[in-house]
């Protein structure tokens, strides 16, 4: 068989080097210029002996999602891998460990569950690892050696990668790992005739691998982040860990606070003091922050909250993905409480989008909620990050000398944005409050003041539209079927559209990193040009669909997937095909 795209999963328990296997395979593929996406899954938050898996998809073409199904399942542990057999494609392959066959009961043996439509390949993983390293360590490299031969990939790409991964270790460690790799390679060469070929002619420059969480942290730091305050929560903690390591080197700081209320409070404080600051959390933390988000709205103190969504409600599904926090992001708060909501669709947008979030927050003195999700946040993928972003596109509105003379912190202006000064700057002082206030910031509850100030706070959302990117429209302009999506689901939608296209069905897609506010005209025009509109998303209620329905008056076909896994492109393609046949009836 010839392949231009392969999906492999390593399955085992902590200590099997599952994550490391993913890293080595992904790193090796990225180094020779392939496109790669990696998704790690942990069964529980506790390490213990819990199951873990790493799925690696690599291709000569750009990847948008994890696709559907596995070409190869590598069962490092027999029992734990059985359930993953259902994800193997028809005609796909399984590698199982022959050296443990006698140790497990028949019903726990991976080999005995392999059905006729998939092919099993035995490999004495544990035995060869012990031969190479004297311990069970190196099991993953035995498997990678076998994979290398199996798909006739060039061995040097792995040898180089092993050297760089273990660069900080002694030479002898590198040697035994390479030996493990070679033993796996040789075993397959001797036992299985070569009949698979990964087409690798499209080699190009090495590509960088990053996760959504990495990209958000890097983007924020590159645009002047000076202060981070947070409280650990899966799947957002990585962002805080990067900030904790990097900010002190740049004269900044990261505080681990006592809870999320304190975290967002400290972030508000830092912005009040004129520094770029942010926090990152997930559903339970975002819920705790809602009063402080309202404070940010009322006092017009900028703030940035990254919310890496996980399954909910409540403590929910900490290690599973869902797009269930759109409603709380948009509406979670008392009173008329406008806020910017953004949702990046891939790692590139995590990087550039968080920078836009900072600029918008600073210029328009508003909270920005940046909605990533567990899948986007944790998966690693090859990306091309755009680093040359205009640093001066949006800046803080400072008072003129006349305005400073008789400083009105909440001066009424056409665009709704009032001049802002920060402590330590000479010329004027002011007090702010979460109470309704007059132009000076003094508490005031009069009817006309409240309506004037509310209108001012909303007016900013009209003026900011000019600084926002237009929606992206992809696919075939003339298509009758239009799809609207958001966040990481976009990747699956794009691949679903591709599958449908191969079946002769044309579609188009509208997507925007801006959920609120949006360039509404482009959405209106797009919807007007569609006969059918499909809105797929990973939640039960159809939260984005509800927003689009109320905003644009459309009646879409909704696909609600309260998913624990990234959306399957096939599922999207099926809906497209169904819709297409309804249209032609």
């Amino acid at each position: 068989m010839k392949y231009s795209e392969i999906t492999i999963r390593f399955c085992g328990i902590a200590g099997d080097g599952i994550v490391a296997s993913g890293k080595i395979l992904a790193g090796a593929c990225a180094n020779i210029g392939l496109h790669v996406m990696v998704n790690n899954i942990y069964s529980a938050e506790i390490r213990g002996l819990g199951k873990s898996s790493a799925t690696i998809r690599f291709s000569t073409e750009k990847l948008y999602s994890m696709g559907d199904g596995l070409d190869l399942l590598v069962g490092m542990m027999s029992k734990e891998s059985i359930i993953d057999l259902r994800d193997v494609k028809v005609g796909g392959n399984v590698i199982y460990d022959t050296s443990t066959i006698g140790d497990v009961a028949e019903e726990d043996s991976l080999a005995s569950h392999i059905t006729p439509e998939i092919q099993g390949h035995g490999l004495p993983i544990k035995k060869l690892a012990n031969e190479a390293t004297g311990t069970n360590q190196g099991k993953n490299l035995v498997a990678i050696g076998a994979i290398c031969y199996f798909y006739s990939l060039p061995p040097e790409m792995f040898i180089d990668q092993i050297r760089s991964v273990f660069a900080h270790k002694e030479e002898h460690i590198i040697d035994i790992n390479i030996k493990a790799f070679n033993l796996g390679y040789e075993y397959f060469r001797e036992n299985y005739p070569l009949n698979n070929q990964f087409e690798i002619d499209k080699r190009s420059e090495p590509r960088a691998l990053t996760s959504g969480n990495d990209a958000i942290a890097k983007g924020a730091i590159d645009c002047g982040l000076k202060f981070f305050a947070g409280y650990p929560i899966t799947p957002a903690t990585k962002i805080m860990e990067i900030a904790a390591k990097e900010l002190p080197k740049l004269g900044g700081w990261t505080l681990q606070m006592e809870d999320e209320i304190a975290a967002i409070g400290a972030v508000l404080g830092a912005w009040f003091a004129g520094k770029r600051a942010m926090t990152a959390t997930s559903g339970p933390g975002l819920s705790l922050m809602s009063e402080m988000i309202n404070m940010s709205v009322m006092a017009e103190i900028p703030t940035i909250i990254v919310n890496v969504q996980r399954g909910g409600p409540s403590t929910g599904l900490p290690t599973k993905v869902e797009q269930g926090d759109l409603n709380i992001a948009l509406y979670g708060g008392a009173g008329d409480s406008p806020r910017v909501v953004m949702a990046p669709t891939n790692s590139e947008e995590c990087y550039s989008g968080i920078q836009l979030a900072f600029d918008i927050a600073e210029k328009y003195q508003t909270p920005v909620i940046f909605l990533s999700d567990l899948f986007l946040g944790q998966r690693t993928e090859t990306v091309t990050i755009k680093e040359n972003i205009d640093r001066n596109r949006c800046t803080r509105k400072k008072p003129t000398p006349e305005q400073l003379e008789n400083f009105q912190r909440y001066q009424i202006t056409d665009d709704g944005v009032s001049p802002l000064i920060v402590p330590g700057e000479p010329g004027a002082v002011y007090s702010t409050t979460g109470l309704e206030h007059s132009v000076t910031g003094n508490p005031n509850y009069e009817e006309d003041v409240h309506s004037m100030m509310t209108a001012k706070r909303f007016r900013k959302f009209e003026s900011m539209v000019e600084d926002l990117p237009e929606a992206d429209i992809l696919g075939e302009e003339t298509a009758d079927i239009g799809i609207a999506g958001w966040g990481s689901t976009i990747g699956s939608i794009l691949e679903g559209m591709e599958i449908a296209k191969k079946q002769g069905v044309k579609t188009k897609l509208i997507k925007s990193i801006m959920i609120h506010p949006q360039h509404e005209d482009s959405f209106r025009k797009f919807f007007a040009s569609c006969k059918k509109i499909i809105v797929p998303e990973m939640n039960y209620q159809g939260q984005y669909a509800a927003l689009l329905k109320s905003r644009y008056g459309i009646k879409p076909i909704e696909i609600h997937i309260p998913s624990v896994n990234p959306v399957s492109p096939l599922k999207i393609a099926q809906k497209i095909m169904e819709t297409s046949s309804e249209l032609s009836q």
Partner: protein, 282 residues
């Protein structure tokens, strides 16, 4: 004790607008005549004047409550925050801009009720903040409900049959949390309040003032007189470096000691952070 009429209080404040602390005076306070919080405010004016803190570098962060209104009465930057959340907001300000003088003000409900989870962490981190807790053992702004420092048995709208829980003692809490400057004051003693607030602001690290500041409208149990009758200055020769002795004295309710219980000169958060950053330079 008899109280001054509202007019007299306002006249006094208007006159004071011409005093040496006028540079730090802003809107006239809106509290009830005789409210203990006037003394805390006066103390903060005096401290700002004595230490000559430029208003542009002076930030007062408050929670919500009668006590929370401080920022509007002081010329400087002010942030009237959320109920119970002044400490984390102030922390963000101070860590982001260490050259500012940041003072946190709040009530007993604010500080050891709703916001009670923040106080320990600011204290143990030794952030360079001054925290003034104005304790009237009542929820003043919401018109008289029991607070975490109300005595057992106290009746109020929400405790019609008497308070069942035991009161917290903010001074002992601060000592237990590791605050590096802990004092208790009483709002009848203006000079003591001004003096200790000044010292607290000068202290490098987390300084805490537990100001007994009676509510003359809603608290009929904890009053100027009841506090006055139980008051005593800390014994002569009390060793302010002895945390456990300070704890024993702070626990006493008969008498209720006032003065500087504890002070320790150890590196503040700012010193530690600077050390880390300097270490990363090479």
């Amino acid at each position: 004790m008899s109280f001054l009429s509202k007019q007299t209080v306002l006249d006094e404040f208007k006159k004071a607008k011409e005093s040496k602390t006028k540079e730090w005076r802003d809107n006239l306070p809106t509290w009830c005549p005789g409210c203990g919080h006037f003394t805390g405010l006066h103390g903060l004016y005096e401290a700002a004047e004595r230490l000559n803190i430029p208003p542009k570098d002076f930030v007062v962060v408050s929670g919500i409550g009668c006590s929370g209104r401080f920022p509007f009465f002081i010329k400087g930057f002010g942030l009237h925050g959320l109920h119970g959340r002044a400490i984390p907001i102030a922390t963000g300000i101070k860590v982001a801009s260490p050259d500012l003088t940041v003072v946190v003000v709040g009530g007993d409900g604010d500080g050891v009720g709703i916001g009670g989870g923040h106080f320990p962490h600011a204290a143990r981190s030794n952030f360079n903040l001054t925290y003034i807790l104005l304790d009237n053992s009542i929820y003043g702004l919401t018109k008289g409900q029991i607070s975490p420092t109300s005595p057992m048995g106290m009746k109020s709208g929400t405790s019609p049959y008497g308070n069942i829980a035991r009161p917290l003692n903010p001074t002992t809490l601060a000592l237990a949390y590791g605050a590096t400057f802990v004092a208790r004051t009483f709002s009848r003693e203006r000079d003591m309040v001004s003096e200790l607030i000044t010292k607290a602001i000068q202290h490098k690290g987390f300084s805490f003032i537990h100001d007994l500041s009676p509510c003359v409208v809603f608290n009929k149990v904890v009053t100027y007189d009841s506090v006055n009758d139980a008051s005593a200055m800390l014994p002569e020769g009390h060793d302010i470096l002895d945390r456990s002795k300070a704890m024993t004295l702070a626990e006493s309710t008969e008498p209720i000691y006032q003065g500087l219980f504890f002070r320790e000169e150890v590196p503040s958060f700012d010193d530690h952070a600077k050390q880390v950053r300097d270490g990363l330079k090479d």
